[in-house]
Amino acid sequence: MSPPEQRGAMTSVRPSVAPVLLRYGATALVAFALFGLILAISGKDPIASYRDILASTLGSTYGLSEVIVTMTPLLLTALAVAIPSRVGLINVGGEGQLIMGACLSTWAALTFAGLPAWLLLPIMALLGMIGGAAWAWIPGQLRARGLVNETISTLLLNPVAALIASFLIFGYWHSPMDTNKTAVFSESARLPRLLDTRIDLGLIMGLALLALFWYIMRSTRWGLEMRALGGNPVAARLNGLPARRYTIVALCLGGAVAGLAGMAMVSGYYGALLANFSRGVGFLGFLVCWLAGGSALGIVVTSFVVSIILAGGNLLQLTRDVPYSTINILLAITLFAVLARPDFTRLRSAR
């Protein structure tokens, strides 16, 4: 399930900017027209709805900050896919790794609630990364031993993680008031917020890790070796690169980053662990990374665009009485329109 063409697409060279921008523009137009049709069928005014979405997301400081809040976990879950993809591995398990990370850091938040923030937050972050890495270690081992393809195993472990989280929440951790979520964390277990907005430190962590990823891939021996393994595994192995070790380490690093996203979500955004809190952010990370061609800058731009759509959906639900999930249609049509034009990544790089 991991043929060379797909790997090529993940690490392709970017073509010149202008035609790409034009195509993205046309693509977005098609997507918005189709979703407008759906809005019109349900009797809502599409143009007014779009004006609402734009005004509420990009039109105000608060709206913009909401977009960035939505974007924060996406940056990390997309990076969780990008790291293994450089070695030619497909990680579809970001969802599960994120949930396991959230579970472990929630355990720390509930157990050590009395600790000061400077001690508790690093513990939570560390446990979050361990949780995600452990969840990715299983597929890593199975793949490195040649037993199970990592695409299948990472996919299968997602629902398992969600069920374990539900088991912990409903069975042990739920607050006296609700059965489907934990009590709100103590103030020391919350990530500090930036500039009086709902944006939290998770954004800085995401951007810093993406920058680190970009630097390591570009300028270090590890980056070169990973790219070599992803580009031509046979040649890399003949040159004595430890393929097995890289397989496990890359998957575990990806898992750790996804786990950190889980920690950021429970500690920053929600301040508690909820059943089904992730809403598919792990899967979205895969799509963002794929659309961005696995590049660090591309991930930032793509997740920003995706977040505008998602944040706009919240508003449509409030003002236009459209179910929240409906915004997934706009998201998906946009993705379809991009996917239907693979020429700006794959075919050009294959030439």
Partner: protein
């Protein structure tokens, strides 16, 4: 535990396993043609919502099944257009299809949350007239349950005993060979996806019209992923998929049995079994597994230009 309670549990288990087997068969046909559809969850949701709303509107559950099957085929057509005609990445397209399904099903079903419908009628088994009513009511299944095993055998027959099935299996192994033999790999893959969509659509219909008898957002609750696991577990063989679905039904029955006899085992942990079991079986079969998967599974067929 009384016989009656045991029979009730078995009946519930069969009910919950049926939609799973239809969905797994649908995914299986597509995968035999080399196409992974990770959006099966979305396909199930859309067909469940369509089937339910058409049933609620028309009052005829059979019309609901038909609409659901068509909805499933249409969803698979979207996937097919992207991965076959536009040569998009199958995993990415499948995940996008899943999100599409989340949204579209919520939109279709929005007006029907809490609606009441006439469920799929249950058929009397001939020769059960002598049985006490309570027993007879438990073995009275709807037509989709009666048909699911014959349909699985039919899919097996189609794949292994017809010229069309040979084409499907061939295109899953090597599209180039199919092309060289003068057939169109693309059109065979579309046909396989359509059949798969129809089957998955029937599965979604059974879930909404016969099993749950209501519509709520996200009602499939991960069944699409269990079905994908089941396809792998079944080594891409429809007959083994019957056994796999029975195993799943048995797990559901076991879970209900434990609960009713007072054992406190978390239903969440028991629900992890299908996934962990599939993973375990894959790990044990190890390297030999690869021979069982269609060779071109997940690959983009670039054609011969």
């Amino acid at each position: 535990m009384s016989d009656l309670a045991l029979l009730g549990i078995l009946s519930t288990a069969l009910f919950s396993g049926t939609s799973l087997l239809y969905a797994a068969l649908g995914e299986l046909v597509g995968q035999r043609a080399g196409i992974v559809n990770l959006g099966l969850e979305g396909v199930l949701l859309v067909s469940a919502a369509t089937g339910f709303s058409v049933t609620a509107l028309s009052g005829n559950p059979y019309l609901g099944i038909l609409a659901a099957a068509i909805a499933g085929a249409l969803m698979n057509t979207v996937h097919g257009y992207l991965v076959i005609s536009r040569k998009a990445n199958q995993l990415a397209s499948g995940l996008a299809l899943m999100f599409f399904g989340f949204g579209l099903s919520a939109w279709i079903g929005a007006d029907y949350v809490g609606a009441r419908i006439v469920g799929l009628p249950r058929l009397d088994l001939p020769g059960l007239a002598g049985l006490p009513e309570v027993y007879a009511s438990l073995v009275r299944f709807d037509i989709l349950i009666w048909l699911v095993v014959p349909v699985a055998i039919l899919v097996w027959w189609l794949l292994y005993r017809t010229r069309w099935g040979l084409g499907v299996r061939a295109v899953g192994e090597s599209p180039d060979t199919v092309y060289a033999s003068g057939r169109s790999a693309q059109s065979i893959r579309y046909q396989a996806l359509w059949l798969g969509g129809l089957l998955a659509g029937v599965g979604g219909a059974h879930l909404a019209i016969a099993y749950a008898m209501n519509w709520s957002e996200n009602m499939t609750a991960g069944r699409g992923f269990i079905a994908i696991a089941l396809v792998i577990f079944a080594k891409w063989d429809p007959l083994r998929a019957i056994a796999g679905a029975l195993l799943f039904s048995a797990a559901v029955a076991f879970q209900l049995l434990l609960q009713s006899s007072g054992f406190q085992v978390s239903p969440f942990l028991l629900s992890t079994m299908p996934y962990l079991l599939t993973l375990l079986v894959l790990a044990i079969w190890g390297g030999r597994r690869r021979a069982a998967a269609p060779a071109s599974l997940g690959r983009v067929y670039q054609g011969t230009e």
